[in-house]
Amino acid sequence: MRREQRNYLFLGVLAAGVIGVTAWNGSPVWYLNLILLCLFMGISYAIRSWHDRAFYLVCAGEPLIVACGAINLWAGVFVVWMVAGIVCNAMGMLEFSMGIKSFVLFCGVAAIVAILIRISNHVFLPLLILAAGTGAILAVQVVRDYQFRKQFGASP
């Protein structure tokens, strides 16, 4: 499947999902989701030829994630998956197996984050867990980087 076709597929599923969730939920501000969806799709179309469009797609997708997440957390997760798919496709990651695996892994991590948020009553605890996880990953990376530099960068 070509990159453009994949992009249309993700956009189509995203549009159907957002419209479906909005109609099913019957939110009083239903039009906000549709406006943000149109905005996202419009930006996606306008910057389709830009080299660094991934950043702008992420920025345009975040308000839609927040809006859908406010209605229903799992709807928010669904939008996260679709936006991530569109961004990964724009970056050419879905053209090789390593990129596809990374995308699937990210979807799993996003679901875990959603579960973590779901079982918490307030923001503080999941935020603390996320910060601790990030800190631990970065600390491990610093040690790995040091060892790597020692191996390849050490002068004889």
Partner: protein, 437 residues
């Protein structure tokens, strides 16, 4: 971290702050997933970066493994690397401060490709500090849309070989020693001079008195001194007379005549004879080999020292060696890549030069000069010229003299000598370019 990643980090901070203040789970979901995406990108970048680093293979070759300080040396470094898209890489040769890069490129931009690709640096260096120098390695910079990372690869597979820079400059005399009839030359002769022309490793049979003990102790290897040779040959005086139609100063011509006469008189008094070659452009007018009579020499100079008519003109024709040098330069440009227009232009120019070289014939003047130089026993020559009009014949004389290992000293009028740049193609191969008094 590049600007994209910095922007995303800012978005995460804003979302986290808003989520914490408003205690909103949807904002936290957006922030958390974005943070996970950014971390994932970083881990993916790091994984690919490590893959690129482990794929690097460096092979470096030097023109020579031992050089004298100040000698220019050609270096070729071959780098094989795999840079998968969407990564971009740049490799920079890490050079010691002991050397100065003369020309060539020490930085390469690597285009992404899933298969290993081989690139080559070609450059020339001049060592300025003596001692042992090791090529320390390369600097690899890798970047994608979000992150960039650089590493100095200095381990064994990326460094070396060693270059031994001999400290000749410390022992070399400030000027060449010369007596009334003999002088030192940078050649091996039966009679040795006092100056050291080179230091080399000891071979069985070398005179033990010539071992340089200090240097041998320093490098734990026996080194012997090669002394300069002594020679007592008079120089050849080449007088390039101006064309009658060329605008030149009479005062300069008079100064040149007196300078030639002085040099000829000095040569006859010091060496008992002098050789004279009188030319005008690419026309050989008169040759006197080993003239011993000062009066006859002066009468020849009086007879010839005036502007003459030139039968053969070279019309500023270019030397074959210069064209070959231009072709090499164009090939380097084409190999290094760049804008398609520039490469196409260089390719067309290269073709033109090559076809020009195919149809180029060696001028008769070049052969005449080569035969003249081989017929006299000399090791240096003085070329007196007014430097006006066509000077292409001077380039040919210098080239033939250099082939015969003869030193060339150019003497020009003061203003012309001052305007000769070091990169001037005609005069740069000459040993000295000075004004005649």
């Amino acid at each position: 971290m590049r600007r994209c990643a910095q922007g995303l980090s800012l978005v995460i901070i804003v979302l986290v702050s808003c989520a914490y203040i408003l205690d909103d789970m949807a904002l936290l979901l957006a922030a958390g997933t974005l943070l996970a995406a950014l971390l994932g990108q970083y881990l993916l970048f790091d994984y690919r970066f490590r893959g690129i680093v482990t794929s690097v293979a460096v092979e470096r070759s030097l023109e020579r493994s031992q050089v004298r300080k100040g000698t220019t040396l050609r270096v070729a470094t071959t780098v094989t690397v795999t840079v998968p898209p969407p990564m971009h890489a740049q490799i920079t040769e890490k050079l010691s401060p002991q050397v100065v890069v003369q020309d060539g490129d020490t930085t390469l931009l690597i285009e992404p490709d899933r298969n290993p690709r081989t690139y080559q640096f070609r450059y020339r260096i001049t060592p300025v500090v003596h001692g042992k120098m090791r090529f320390s390695g390369i600097t690899l910079s890798v970047q994608n849309a979000f992150f960039s990372h650089a590493i100095d690869l200095l381990a064994d597979p990326f460094s070396g070989p060693d270059l031994l820079i001999q400290p000749l400059g410390l022992f070399e005399p400030s000027g060449k020693r010369s007596t009334t009839e003999s002088r030192e030359v940078e050649k091996l002769k039966v009679v040795s001079g006092f100056g050291i022309r080179a230091l080399r490793e000891y071979y069985a049979g070398d005179d033990l008195r010539r071992i340089d003990w200090k240097l041998s102790a320093k490098h734990n290897k026996l080194y012997v001194r090669e002394y300069t040779g002594m020679i007592s040959l008079p120089p050849l005086l080449i007088i390039d007379l101006p064309w009658r139609a060329a605008p030149c100063s009479d005062a300069d011509l008079d100064r040149m005549a007196s300078a030639v006469a002085g040099q000829a008189e000095h040569a006859i008094r010091s060496y008992q004879y002098v050789s004279l070659l009188i030319i005008s452009g690419a026309n050989i007018l008169f040759f006197s080999g080993e003239e011993k009579d000062l009066q006859r020499c002066m009468s020849v100079l009086r007879e010839w020292m005036h502007p003459v008519e030139r039968v053969i003109h070279q019309y500023h024709s270019r030397d074959r060696a210069d064209i070959r040098e231009d072709v090499r330069h164009l090939e380097t440009i084409i190999m290094q890549g760049g804008e398609p227009g520039s490469i196409a232009f260089s390719g067309t120019l290269r073709k033109q030069y090559l076809s020009m070289m195919m149809h180029m014939q060696t001028p008769a003047f070049t052969g005449q000069i080569a035969r003249t130089l081989s017929s006299v026993a000399i090791d240096e020559c003085y070329l007196f010229s007014l430097g006006c009009g066509d000077e292409s014949h001077i380039r040919q004389i210098i080239r033939q003299a250099k082939i015969a290992k003869i030193l060339v000293h150019i003497r020009l009028p003061g203003a012309r000598a001052a305007s000769v740049a070091s990169a001037d193609r005609i005069y740069r191969a000459a040993d000295t370019v000075e004004a005649f008094a």
